[in-house]
């Protein structure tokens, strides 16, 4: 009866200690350390550093108009980086995100022009198509259990080919026809690609959408059931399933969110340039993924934020424009990015270790 003693009266005192009791072994962690536990802190510091650096290196950037350009550039990356980040927290990534933007824009552009319909028809069909591509990615992933790298690599190749071939087939060209004189164009442009005036500085509306989406994504991630599920399916899919999280639903809808982002950015491109080049978008997917990783999202899932990728995208925009305004050769951009990516990953790693250590 080696286990009998534990059932003796001594152990039978009510196990619940008083509510004020603490276990007394952990010192209160310093506020700074607790702040560092947030995934977006590393990238915030990085963004500030890059910002200050280019303000010094490129004095012309200090002008409000140049800042608006930086923000615009950041927003077109940032809007896509958000769903890509959520997907990454959910443990997957999507290599087809870059060409999916173009697929969406091509769909809307060609449909509207060929059928001489109101552009809104094309916009709606493009949305359905984008969501369907996302749902397909998610569904194949869930059904086959293949890694998302393979599934979305296949989608990437398919979309890339379809974009070029179908555009050639329909328009006889590598770009779609100009739709700027069609019904509904002005409305759609107002929604996706207009600008407005802030104290004499012209700001693109995508900047507003970017921040609205970021706020929404943050709320969903931290304050809703669905957000809880995203962290869970990325952190440990089997555990999540065992406690009743709808893993299939969560994964598929995450891919569909990326589809939504691709649609939105695609519409922006269509309505700001009036035509779409069918070969574009290749390589952009890596920029989105990099922005999410620089933003503190764990590549293997289960950890990250929606605010981090906002700063990640801002760093991209800043570097991109900063190099131009500093008068350097723009070819340096990618090299700069690589260094930033590695630096950000190392900082995040260090911060996370420091913060989760007790």
């Amino acid at each position: 009866m080696s286990m009998a003693p534990q059932a003796e009266p001594a152990a039978l005192a009510p196990p619940a200690p008083g509510p004020q009791e603490t276990d007394g072994r952990t010192r209160e962690r310093p506020v700074a350390l607790r702040l560092l536990a947030r995934p977006e802190v590393g990238v915030f510091l990085g963004a500030v550093a890059v910002f200050v650096f280019f303000l010094i290196a490129a004095p012309t950037l200090r002008d409000g108009g140049s800042m608006a350009t930086v923000l615009y550039q950041s927003s077109t990356i940032g809007i896509m980086a958000l769903p890509v980040a959520l997907l990454m927290i959910g443990g997957e990534f999507d290599l087809s995100a870059g060409v999916a933007v173009i697929t969406s824009a091509l769909t809307a552009g060609m449909l509207s022009y060929q059928l001489t319909m109101n552009v809104w028809m094309g916009v709606v069909v493009a949305l359905v198509a984008s969501l369907a591509v996302g749902a397909f990615n998610g569904w194949v992933l869930v059904k086959t259990g293949l890694p998302s790298f393979l599934v979305t690599l296949a989608t990437f190749l398919v979309l890339q080919g379809v974009n070029l071939a179908v555009t050639k087939l329909v328009t006889g060209n590598v770009a779609t026809d100009d739709i700027s004189d069609m019904d509904g164009f002005d409305q759609a442009k107002a929604l996706f690609a207009s600008s407005f005036d802030v104290g004499g500085i012209e700001v693109k509306i995508t900047v507003v959408w970017w921040l609205v989406f970021a706020a929404l994504a943050t709320w969903v991630l931290l304050r809703t059931k669905y957000g809880n599920w995203i962290f869970a399916v990325g952190g440990s899919q089997e555990s999540a399933r065992a406690v009743g999280v709808p893993v299939t639903f969560t994964k598929i809808t995450l891919f569909m969110l990326v589809g939504f982002g691709a649609w939105f950015v695609g519409m922006h491109q269509l309505f700001s340039f009036n035509t779409v080049q069918s070969g574009e978008g290749v390589g952009q997917e890596l920029i989105y993924i990099a922005a999410a990783v620089i933003g503190g999202c764990l590549l293997t899932g289960g950890y990250g934020s929606a605010i981090g990728p906002v700063f990640g995208a801002f760093m991209f925009g800043m570097v991109n424009q900063g190099i131009v305004f500093a008068g350097w050769n723009p070819d340096w951009f990618k090299a700069f990015l690589g260094v930033m990516l590695l630096g950000a990953v190392l900082i995040n790693l260090y911060v996370r270790r420091a913060a989760t250590r007790r």
Binding site: M1, A16, T26, W219, T224, A242
Partner: protein
């Protein structure tokens, strides 16, 4: 008091609704397996197993490593599907497609691997998959304050005091994680509570608390499936014992029909432990006399007084367990009221 359950705190979700049903007659099993089996490809992990979980009774499942215990409970908890035989809930054949189905019928499980997400905070893990929310649909959001409070209360009832429920559960010790998993299942298990080796990583005090929880759950009228390697733990709280061996039932016996000695003997461990002790004695350097006596005694024909002794101790502790569990439960109930 007998119907006092966690859901009376107003936790949303289905387990409250399930509880609203009038208690079924005592003799109809909540969950029943008839000739159930499970093959993983060509591995037949389980074959021809009968098991009944009655309200207010503790069914213990014992067996060696790899005997199929976890496979058995994974069928009941909806993680796997049986490939042969029948699985009935409330007398009606079912086939769960996910653990959500089991939870919706009030069946909660502590998995052997605990099923926690290491990087998520303790309180989020506690409520994962059954989150409390507030507000109407478009702005329906997590009720974080209430979840933290509830998780803290339930953990304190387990004797686990955490300074910071925000810390990732991966930073807790193995036993603390296990306590969180148990507290979670106790909180959500409205009708059937399944525990897969819940005491494996626990200290003496926490093991005692778990056994009291099992007794308390029985008092509340829940059906409990208790999986363990430890026949002493099983005998303290069990009403029915099933011993699995290589995927089939080796023994299925009510408490009245079996003594602790026999139970210990039926577990493959009994005879082998005797042999092991013998071997250790020959190797030397091991204080064999300090090892527990009853196991080898049982294997080598039990001395009558030794059997009596351990048997009476066991029932003593079971009796005191139930009284203790009453106080535990009322304490819990007051805390919740």
């Amino acid at each position: 008091m007998a119907t006092k359950t966690p859901s009376s705190t107003g936790a949303p979700g289905t387990h409250g609704a399930v509880l609203a049903d009038p208690a079924p007659e005592r003799d109809r099993p909540l969950v029943e397996l008839r000739g159930a089996g499970k093959s993983y490809g060509n591995v037949r992990a389980l074959h021809g197993v009968d098991l009944a979980v009655h309200p207010g009774r503790v069914t213990c499942v014992l067996g060696d490593n790899g005997a199929g215990k976890s496979t058995l409970i994974k069928i009941i908890s909806g993680l796997h599907q049986h490939t042969e035989g029948e699985f009935l809930v409330d007398g009606e054949p079912v086939r769960f497609s996910s653990p959500r189905d089991a939870l919706d019928r009030g069946i909660a499980t502590v998995y052997q691997d605990l099923a926690t997400v290491p990087l998520m905070p303790v309180w989020r893990n506690f409520f994962l998959g059954s989150e409390m929310t507030k507000g109407p649909w478009p702005v329906r959001r997590l009720d974080i304050a209430r979840m933290k409070r509830t998780a803290d209360e339930e953990l304190r009832n387990m004797g686990i005091v955490l300074d910071d429920l925000e810390q990732p559960i991966g930073t807790l010790s193995g036993g603390q994680r296990q306590s969180v998993a148990i507290a979670r299942a106790v909180y959500f298990g409205a009708r059937v509570l399944i525990l897969d080796e819940p005491t494996a990583a626990l200290g003496v005090k926490q093991s005692g608390v778990v056994l009291k929880y099992i007794a308390a759950a029985r008092e509340r009228g829940l059906g409990v499936v208790f999986i363990t390697h430890n026949p002493h733990h099983a005998y303290m709280v069990g009403d029915h014992f099933s011993v699995l061996r290589l995927g089939t039932l080796e023994l299925s016996s009510a408490r009245a029909d079996i003594t602790l000695e026999e139970l210990t003997n039926h577990m493959a461990g009994g005879a082998e432990l005797a042999a092991l002790k013998h071997e250790l004695a020959q190797v030397g350097g091991v204080d064999v006399d300090a090892l527990p006596d009853d196991v080898p005694d049982a294997a080598g024909g039990p001395a009558p007084d030794s059997a009596d002794k351990s048997d009476s101790t066991a029932s003593d502790s079971t009796a005191s367990d139930s009284t203790a569990s009453d106080s535990t439960v009322s304490g819990t109930a007051e805390g919740k009221a």
